[in-house]
C-alpha cells in the first residue's frame, strides 16, 4: 500500500444561501495535488458561488473547508492567495497600458529604497512568463497582446503569488483554437509541476481532453463525479441535465425555399480585397465556420449595416437592398443576435420587458405612444417561446444568467418575424439547457420558413445544426460544404487554409 496523500482541498457540506435562495445545499468537492478537476453544471447550478467561496470573494454559511488538513475560513481574496488559491477571471483584469512585468507584479513590486527594483522585477517576471510559455520581452505592453496571451499573463501573475490551485472560469470562451491549444499545453505543464487546477467550462470537448476527474453540480447539489475513464459527453450531459443527449441536436432537413439572402461580390470594410458571395434559402440553416478573426463577425455586421458594405450586391427576396445601418436592415427583414450580448445585444440596466420590446416598440406604437399591452404580449411570447427563467418581466436583465440573457436577445426578434435571422456565436458561454432551447427554436423557425445564418466556433454546433456551411479563412470564403460533406476534418482544413476551395 502506498502512502495515502490527503487531498489538497476538501470541501464538505458547504451551504450558502442568499435571502430567498439556497445557492449551495451541502456540496462537497475534493482536489488532489497536480490534478485537473473539471467542474461542470448548467448556469445557476452553484459553480460560481462555490468558486467565489474558494477564492475568498464570498463566505459560506456552513460546512467544512479544509486545506492541507487544516480548517480554514477566508475573509477576503488575500486570505485565499496566502493559502495559494488564485482565481483567473473570465474577464481579464490586466492594465493594457502597462508592460508585462508591471502587470505580473502589480501591487507587489519588488522595491529597493522605496523605488521599484526594475531589474529584479523584470528578471522574475521573465521566469514566470516562460513558465506559461510566453517568451516575449517583459517590456511588451499588455494591451498589445491578443486575448489568449493576456490570459497566460494572468496565469503567470497567479504563479508569481505562489499559487498552488488555479481556478479557471470559462478560460477558453474567447480564445481561438490555436490559443486554446496553447492554453491546454500550459495547463498540462502546470499539472506536471504539481499545480492543481479547477476548470470550469461549458465546452465538454475540452473537459474530455483536459480533466482527470469531473464533478457535476445540479441545482446547488452534487449530481455526481466521473473518473477519468467515465468522462464522455453522454455521462456529463446526463448528470448535468438529468436526461439523455439523444434529443440535443434535433434537426430535420427541410425542403429549402426561395433564396432569401444573396450576396454577390459583397465587400466588407474590414476585408475590402475579399469579395464574398453566398446565399441562404428560406427554411435553411446555414453555418459559417472558421477560426476567430477569419472575418465572420465582420461579415454579419456588414450584412446588418453596422459597418456598411463598400461594394457588391445584396439581395433580399430577390430585391436589391442598400443597407446603411441596422435600422434599414431590420426594416428589410433582417435580425442579428450579436456575438457580444452585453455590449450589442441587451440594454443591461433595463428590464426583460423593455429589452424584449425594444425593436418592436415603434411598430406597435401609435403616434409615439407606447402600446403597453402589445409590449406585454411581445414579452410574454419571447419568455414562453424560449422558456426564459425570470422572476417577472420587470427583472433587470443584468442579473439574469448568460443563458437567459441570450434567450432574450433572440426572443426580442421573434416579434419582428424576420425573413433572415443571423446569429453570431449563439451559444457562447451559456449552459446546456439554454443551448437546447436556442437550438430548438432555430429548428422551429427554419421549419416555419425562416432563413437562418449562424456563425460558430464550436465544431459540434456547426456539424449538429447546419444544413450547409461556409468556411471562412482570413476574410474570404475558403469553401462551401453541403450537408453530406460536413465533417470536422473538412471544416478544419478549410478554416486553416490547408485546402483551397474545391
Amino acid at each position: 500500500m502506498g502512502e495515502i496523500v490527503p487531498p489538497l482541498i476538501e470541501v464538505s457540506g458547504l451551504t450558502k444561501s442568499f435571502p430567498g435562495v439556497l445557492a449551495l445545499r451541502g456540496v462537497s468537492l475534493h482536489l488532489k495535488r497536480g490534478e485537473v478537476l473539471a467542474l461542470i453544471g448548467e448556469n445557476g447550478a452553484g459553480k460560481s458561488t462555490l468558486m467565489k467561496i474558494l477564492a475568498g470573494i464570498q463566505s459560506a454559511d456552513a460546512g467544512d473547508f479544509i486545506i492541507d488538513g487544516e480548517q480554514v475560513s477566508f475573509r477576503n481574496v488575500n486570505d485565499a492567495m496566502l493559502k495559494g488559491i488564485a482565481l483567473i477571471h473570465q474577464e481579464l483584469n490586466l492594465c493594457g497600458n502597462l508592460d508585462l512585468a508591471s502587470n505580473v507584479f502589480l501591487g507587489r513590486e519588488p522595491t529597493k529604497g522605496g523605488f521599484v527594483n526594475e531589474s529584479l522585477m523584470r528578471h522574475q517576471a521573465q521566469q514566470f512568463l516562460s513558465q506559461v510559455g510566453l517568451d516575449m520581452p517583459v517590456n511588451t505592453l499588455a494591451g498589445s497582446l491578443p486575448i489568449g496571451k493576456q490570459q497566460l499573463v494572468e496565469i503567470a501573475k497567479a504563479l508569481s503569488c505562489n499559487a498552488r490551485v488555479l481556478i479557471m472560469d470559462e478560460p477558453t470562451s474567447s480564445l481561438s483554437q490555436k490559443e486554446t491549444d496553447t492554453l491546454f499545453k500550459v495547463v498540462k505543464n502546470l499539472r506536471a509541476h504539481g499545480i492543481s487546477i479547477i476548470y470550469i467550462s461549458h465546452r465538454l470537448g475540452e473537459v474530455i481532453e483536459l480533466a482527470d476527474r469531473v464533478t457535476v453540480f445540479r441545482d446547488g447539489e452534487n449530481a455526481g463525479d466521473l473518473g477519468r475513464d467515465e468522462i464522455n459527453h453522454e455521462n456529463m450531459v446526463r448528470l448535468m441535465v438529468g436526461r439523455d443527449l439523444s434529443e440535443f441536436y434535433d434537426r430535420k432537413i427541410h425542403q429549402p425555399g426561395k433564396k432569401v439572402l444573396s450576396l454577390t461580390k459583397f465587400r466588407c470594410p474590414s476585408f475590402p480585397d475579399h469579395p464574398i458571395s453566398l446565399s441562404v434559402r428560406a427554411g435553411e440553416i446555414v453555418g459559417i465556420a472558421g477560426l476567430v478573426g477569419a472575418g465572420r463577425t465582420e461579415l454579419l455586421q456588414t450584412i446588418f449595416g453596422v459597418t456598411p458594405a463598400i461594394g457588391g450586391v445584396m439581395e433580399i427576396d430577390g430585391k436589391k437592398k442598400e443597407i446603411s445601418d441596422p435600422r434599414t436592415a431590420i426594416s428589410s427583414g433582417i435580425a442579428l443576435v450579436p456575438e457580444d450580448r452585453k455590449q450589442h445585444g441587451l440594454v443591461l440596466p433595463m428590464s426583460v420587458r423593455e429589452n424584449s420590446s425594444l425593436p418592436s416598440l415603434k411598430r406597435d406604437s401609435s403616434r409615439g405612444w407606447i402600446n403597453e399591452s402589445a409590449e406585454e404580449q411581445v414579452t410574454e411570447e419571447a419568455v414562453s417561446a424560449l422558456k426564459i427563467k425570470t422572476p417577472n418581466f420587470e427583472q433587470v436583465t443584468r442579473f439574469l444568467s448568460g443563458g437567459n440573457q441570450q434567450k432574450i436577445v433572440l426572443g426580442k426578434w421573434l416579434a419582428m418575424s424576420p425573413k433572415l435571422l443571423m446569429l453570431d456565436e449563439p451559444t457562447r458561454g451559456i449552459d446546456i439547457g439554454a443551448k437546447r432551447e436556442i437550438y430548438k427554436l432555430m429548428e422551429k423557425l427554419a421549419g416555419e420558413g425562416m432563413a437562418i445564418l449562424f456563425v460558430s466556433s464550436e465544431m459540434e454546433e456547426v456539424l449538429g445544426m447546419a444544413d450547409r456551411a461556409y468556411v471562412m479563412h482570413e476574410g474570404k470564403i475558403s469553401g462551401e460544404l453541403g450537408h453530406n460533406q460536413l465533417s470536422e476534418k473538412a471544416i478544419m482544413n478549410l478554416a486553416t487554409g490547408i485546402l483551397a476551395a474545391a
Binding site: V21, G44, W369, F399
Partner: protein, 334 residues
C-alpha cells in the same frame, strides 16, 4: 414613490421643518411665494438638462442660453413694430436652433458634448454682450427707454410669465404653473412615449440600442433640442422676473445648478437613469437650502459650501440605496 426619490423628498421635508422651527418667519406667505417661484425657475432648467444627462451627455451652455434668450427677447420687445408674442416665438426658436446645432455637432461631427457645450457657453455669453454693447436691457422699459411701443401687451406678457394668481389668500407665482405643465409633459414623454424609452435605452447602451434598429443620433439630437428649449423657457421666465437683464451676468453658472439638481434628483452622469419628480424636488431642495441659510442666520459666505456638501452627501446616499437594491435583485436570481 421610488426609493431614491423618497430619499430626496425626505431631505426636502427635513430642511423645511427644521428651518420652520428655528425661524417661524420662514413660513410666511411672502417667503413661501418666493421660494416656490425660484424653485420653479430652477426646476425648468434642471428638467431640460435631465434629458441630456439621461442620454449620457452633458450641457454646459444652459446659463448662457438663459442669458442670450433673455437678451434677445428684450431686444425684440424693445423693437418698434414687433408683436410681443412674436418676440416670445423668436426667443424660443432661437433656443431650439441652439439645441439642434449642439445635437448635430455631437452626433454628426462627433465632437464630445462637453466640448460642444463649453464652447456654446462662451459663444452665447459673448453674443449677448455684443448685441447689447454690454448694457443692461429688460423686457419692460427701464426709466425713459425708447421703444416698447406695445407696452400694454408687454405688461400682459409680464403677468403671464411673472405674475401671481390669487388662490384664496395665497398668491401663486405663474412660473409654478409653467413648471407644472412642463414637468407633466416631460414625465409623460419620458415614461409613456417610445422616444422617452429610446432616450433611456441609448443612455444605458448606445450600441445595443442601435443594434435594435433605433436611430440613436436622431434621439440624441432631440435630447439637446429639448434641453435648450427648456433653457429658453427659463430664459423668458427669468427675463420677466428680473426686469433688468445683465448681458454679462444673467444666467451665469445656472448650468451648474441645473446639473446639480439633475444629479441630486437621481440622474446618473453615466446615463440611463433619471426621473422628472426627482429632479423637480432636487431643484426645490437647492433653492430651499439658500433660503434656509438666510432664515437660520448662517453666514451667506457658507452658501456654496453647504450646497456642495448637501449635493455630495445626497449623491452618495443615492448610490448606497442603489447598491442595496441591486444586491437584492442579484440575489433573487442567482
Amino acid at each position: 414613490m421610488k426609493k431614491n426619490i423618497l430619499g430626496i423628498f425626505i431631505l426636502l421635508v427635513a430642511i423645511f421643518v427644521i428651518t420652520a422651527i428655528i425661524n417661524p418667519k420662514f413660513l410666511n406667505a411672502y417667503n413661501m411665494q418666493n421660494l416656490i417661484k425660484w424653485s420653479s425657475l430652477y426646476a425648468v432648467m434642471s428638467l431640460g438638462v435631465a434629458f441630456v444627462i439621461i442620454t449620457g451627455g452633458i450641457d454646459l451652455s444652459i446659463g448662457s442660453v438663459v442669458g442670450l434668450v433673455a437678451v434677445v427677447l428684450s431686444i425684440c420687445l424693445k423693437l418698434e413694430g414687433m408683436d410681443p408674442w412674436s418676440a416670445i416665438g423668436i426667443a424660443l426658436i432661437l433656443s431650439l436652433l441652439i439645441g439642434l446645432l449642439h445635437g448635430i455637432l455631437i452626433t454628426k461631427a462627433k465632437v464630445q458634448p462637453f466640448v460642444v457645450t463649453l464652447c456654446g457657453l462662451l459663444v452665447y455669453r459673448s453674443m449677448g454682450r455684443w448685441f447689447t454693447d454690454n448694457q443692461s436691457i429688460g423686457p419692460m422699459p427701464m426709466e425713459e427707454d425708447a421703444g416698447y411701443k406695445n407696452l400694454e401687451q408687454i405688461q400682459h406678457l409680464d403677468f403671464v410669465f411673472s405674475g401671481k394668481i390669487a388662490i384664496g389668500s395665497f398668491n401663486l407665482p405663474t412660473p409654478a404653473i409653467f413648471l407644472l405643465v412642463l414637468s407633466i409633459a416631460a414625465a409623460i414623454f419620458l415614461r409613456r412615449t417610445i422616444w422617452g424609452r429610446y432616450l433611456f435605452a441609448l443612455g444605458s447602451n448606445e450600441d445595443g440600442t442601435r443594434y435594435s434598429g433605433i436611430n440613436t443620433d436622431r434621439m440624441k439630437i432631440l435630447a439637446y433640442v429639448l434641453c435648450s428649449f427648456f433653457a429658453g423657457m427659463a430664459g423668458i421666465l427669468f427675463a420677466f422676473e428680473l426686469d433688468s437683464v445683465q448681458p454679462a451676468q444673467t444666467g451665469e453658472f445656472y448650468e451648474l445648478y441645473a446639473i446639480a439638481a439633475a444629479v441630486l434628483g437621481g440622474c446618473s452622469l453615466r446615463g440611463g437613469e433619471g426621473s422628472v419628480l426627482g429632479v423637480v424636488i432636487a431643484a426645490a431642495v437647492i433653492r430651499l437650502i439658500y433660503n434656509s441659510i438666510n432664515m437660520v442666520g448662517i453666514s451667506t459666505h457658507l452658501e456654496f459650501g453647504i450646497l456642495g456638501l448637501v449635493i455630495l452627501l445626497g449623491v452618495i446616499g443615492d448610490e448606497l440605496i442603489k447598491k442595496t437594491v441591486n444586491r437584492k435583485q442579484a440575489v433573487q436570481t442567482s
